[in-house]
């Protein structure tokens, strides 16, 4: 089994200081190290529960990575890893964005220390104001023929206008490293719009969140992926996926109003960009 570090990680843990990071193989699988202090257990418990939950409709199941159990992997000290579908394996040049959903990342079951830490992060970012924050993104520059990602520190400090700019840059083709030129949003309608675009998928998810009381997806992210290779001929093949389930808890008969509120806010941002880009192409 040939394992290597994944190419397009935009957020989350990477291999650092001897601690294992995620790995991918050549068979379309993604290996995620079990995170310490019960988070890994919670994530496994979620995947186990979710894969066998017959009340989750099929059209919603496809928004989640396929789960292949856990496995001890050579070269990671025999530590168990969560085996998932590699969401990027069918893409050759993917642009990827990770958006952490919810106006709070803490939850009642968390420790006081964790809650305080989250409160600080949520207040400093757009989480409190907008109901979500962009954890990271990487976008393909069609002019430079290379990938670009914004500086992590800069991204952490952005406000609402910065979010709008990032969402425009994410679907632009022009030189992104040149901050003086305005993003052209050239791919806004192929990525965000259309009968199978990001907006349609988010709206489908929203309907499920208005009713499902199985899980509370604390601190989960929505990953947005699309293909840059032959985007003009073959389309963007945009996909929305939910990822990162280390803090998922039982819904206990209550909807995940925190995630839902944030999702509705995010939907509004995407819709605004789609509408303004539609208007500018009409001119």
């Amino acid at each position: 089994m040939h394992l290597k570090a994944p190419e397009h990680q935009v957020a989350g843990h990477i291999a650092k200081d001897g601690k294992p990071g995620p790995l991918v193989d050549d068979k379309g699988r993604f290996f995620k190290p079990l995170q310490g202090d019960s988070r890994g257990e919670i994530e496994v418990k979620f995947y186990e529960s979710f894969s066998s939950n017959t009340e989750v409709p099929d059209h919603i199941r496809r928004y989640f990575p396929v789960y292949h159990g856990t496995q001890a992997v050579e070269g990671s000290d025999g530590a168990a890893m969560i085996v998932l579908e590699n969401l990027l394996s069918k893409y050759s040049k993917p642009s990827v964005m990770d958006v952490k959903m919810g106006s709070r990342t803490w939850y009642p079951e968390a420790s006081e220390e964790y809650i305080q830490k989250c409160l600080r992060k949520d207040a400093r970012s757009t989480t409190v104001s907008s109901g979500f924050r962009i954890s990271g993104f990487e976008v393909y520059d069609h002019k430079e023929l290379s990938f670009w990602k914004p500086d992590r520190k800069l991204l952490n400090g952005i406000k609402v206008d910065g979010v709008r700019l990032a969402l425009r840059k994410f679907v632009s083709s022009n030189t992104l490293s040149d901050t003086s030129s305005k993003p052209d949003s050239a791919f806004a309608s192929s990525v965000y719009g259309g009968s199978r675009g990001v907006l349609t998928q988010l709206l489908e998810l929203k309907t499920w969140f208005e009713n499902q009381t199985f899980y509370h997806f604390n601190s989960c992210s929505i990953l947005i992926i699309y293909e840059n290779e032959s985007i003009h001929d073959d389309g963007a093949r945009a996909q929305v996926k939910l990822v990162d389930f280390a803090h998922v808890h039982d819904g206990n008969g209550v909807i995940d109003h925190n995630f839902l509120g944030g999702l509705c806010s995010f939907i509004n941002f995407v819709r605004d960009i789609l509408q303004s880009s539609d208007e500018s192409t009409d001119n």
Binding site: A123, G131, G253, V254, N268
Partner: protein, 281 residues
Amino acid sequence: MKMLKDPEHQVAGHMAKDGRLGPLVDGEGRFFKPFQSNGRGENEAKFYDSFSSNNNVPDHIRGYFPVYHGTQVVEASNGSGKLPHIVLVDVVYGYSNPSGMDVKIGSRTWYPGVSEQYFNQCLKNDRETTSVSLGFRHAGFKIFDHQESRFWIVEYKVVHGYKVDDATLVLRKFVSSNSLADSIPDCAFASEVYGGSNGILAQLLELKAWFETQTLYHFSSCSVYMFYENESILMKGGGGARAQVKLVDFTHVLDGNGVVDHNFLGGLSSFIKFIQDILES
């Protein structure tokens, strides 16, 4: 001007009874709400001014807000002299025996920019009550007990201490005809009050649709006030429950700044699910 007296059917908030400062009614359809301290009264008047002249609010949504008639200086209920009051149309005017319930919407009652002290107080309240877990909490209610022929009112301290099960139970009791002391509410009026094309659920869903796109205002600490007529509910052809939803309490409304009120919307969606569940059971 007619003599002002304290409202009969108030369910939450500061009350004018016993010489305290609270709202007054003129018995002719007007409701006088004293300006709350620390600038909150001014904020509320400012919101009502803005809202009444905001052309971007559709008419069918405007109906969910009390009609505003400016401010007026009148004799305060606690004898402290003349104070500015917000003048509104009394939403329960014309109802003889309304059951009413005030539910504060949103998993957080604080908002960016508040003082640390206010933030800590709000966070404590939100965590201790059902706000964080459910996205809403009960602020007060007055439910007519058809067996006892009188109103069931619960002390604020007790309501504030409600947990998830208590919240569910009281939403069921709100539409029940059996004794409210019974632990199993019969929900006999659920379809008349919550259901139907003009019922509470239909109204909440209409409000929710507006909240999915409106970015004009962020309604921190606002309540949904729902009420219905008991007098006609048991009579055939008696005019029905006339259930209504109103949004009230605008002391902490902020500019939306192009972002939807995700805090209110999340809480409202959760509240809607609770009502739906009661209707379906």
